[in-house]
């Protein structure tokens, strides 16, 4: 005899919760460009998260965030990265912070490696100013990866390190002492 089914008591598969409606705010770069971003994406930046929290605590309407130390082009890249990662658990980025061998997901690898080295450095610097741990992790790892298999001369060229005799001398010490 087949066991009696009691489908009424069986938990039904839950339907996905409707996500909260996106809360869009304006973000202004140091050179005056105004961009738009989802607040959830901006919360990846500890610096901006603190500012947003300040507005929310005081029940003040948040119309525009000013980012004074990042130019428009770089800020656009930052926001693009944050938008892609707005659902991420920030604990993962924190846990990866001190790990040497972190895995860069394919979207991030493509996003970061297509950038010229100068833009990548600007992006890492912006991530540092805005305190976005995940972007710092992936950016720095991408810089390290770009050094793979390179000789000293190739690294000097890639990273824009002047030849020893071109370096500004600040002391009487030689470069190889």
């Amino acid at each position: 005899m087949a066991p009696k089914k009691n489908s009424a008591k069986r938990p039904q598969p839950s339907t996905p919760k409707p996500s909260a409606p996106a809360r869009i705010v304006k973000v202004q770069s140091s050179d005056g460009h105004i961009l738009q971003a989802d607040v959830r994406a901006l919360l990846l930046s500890s610096t901006l998260a603190a500012t947003i929290k300040g507005y929310d605590d005081e029940n003040k309407p948040l119309e525009k965030l000013e980012v004074n130390n990042v130019v428009g082009f770089t800020l656009k890249l930052v926001l693009e990265w944050c938008e892609k990662h707005k659902e991420d658990d920030p604990a993962i980025a924190q846990a990866e912070k001190d790990k040497k061998n972190i895995f860069i997901p394919s979207w991030d690898r493509h996003f970061l490696t297509k950038l010229p080295m100068g833009n990548l450095f600007d992006l890492i610097t912006a991530a540092y100013h805005l305190d976005i741990t995940g972007l710092i992790n992936y950016g720095c790892k991408t810089v390290a990866n770009s050094a793979k298999g390179k000789s000293t001369e190739e690294m000097r060229e890639l990273f824009g390190i002047p030849e020893p005799w071109e370096q500004p001398s600040t002391s009487t010490a030689t470069w190889d002492d």
Binding site: I102, T125, I136, V143, K150, T152, F159, T174
Partner: protein
Amino acid sequence: MPINILSLQATDLQYAINSMDVGELIAFSLCSKRTKNLVKSSNMLLIKTTAAVFKNDYIEFEILAFQGSFDRDIHKPIQFFLPANRWMQVDRGNGIERWKFTRSHCIAHFMSLFKVSEVTYLILGGLCQVPYLDTVKQIFPRCYTLKIGKNCSDEVTKMAILKLAPIAKEVEIGKNHIINDIPHLWTMHLEFVLLNDEERPLKLTLEDLLTLNIGSVLILNTNITERDLNIFMKLWMKGSHRFYAPETIKLHTTNGFRMDQVFKGIQYETVLRDYSYQLRRGDGEKLTILNVEGIMFQFS
């Protein structure tokens, strides 16, 4: 136009550097004085350096270092081939590369990079020119272990013991027959001496054992007599000096030692049958004698 990596924030830069592997870090450290200092303050750890010196002024230098936790399957030594008066060549695991650095520059650079003043192993292989030892000493002023290969000439072996053993803590010598010409060896202040010539036995005497000033001695082929060993133990039993330098002496012989002759007239305790014996002196000092693959004296 490339942007200078050194313009990155210090923490980001250090993070990027900590993500590089050892081969990349070494190449990066050679870019400039600042990159060298950055690599110096990274979390790279040195396991050992090996310098093998061959004839015609040719040196092979090897660095085994790692970041994070050491894994012998992943972390392989990086080899530098350093002929005199030519650019160095490097093998970081992806074939030979040519780097435009001189030998003296790179060795000094590596020692400074890893904050060490001595190479772990200094190996002399097939040398036959005595004056060249001065050059070797100039390049490597200190080492932990000096290995004098059996392919070195007799004269080089003798002079290497006299000139280079004082800059080492441990010495390995591949030729026994020249040792009797250097009685000075036994009184050198060394932590360990290995005589690894298995072809020709070393004639070791009671006097050699009594003058020993070396922490630990291992001789793979010796023809010391049981009588000398017996007198050595009797003298140790009668002695009262607490500061006999050696902690262990291990002697191998092709024919084995007749232990009844070695212990003749000596009162001993058997710790393990046929293997381990113990002598006790009036002042409480102990001497353990192990009879496994030769004879080993342990002083405590």
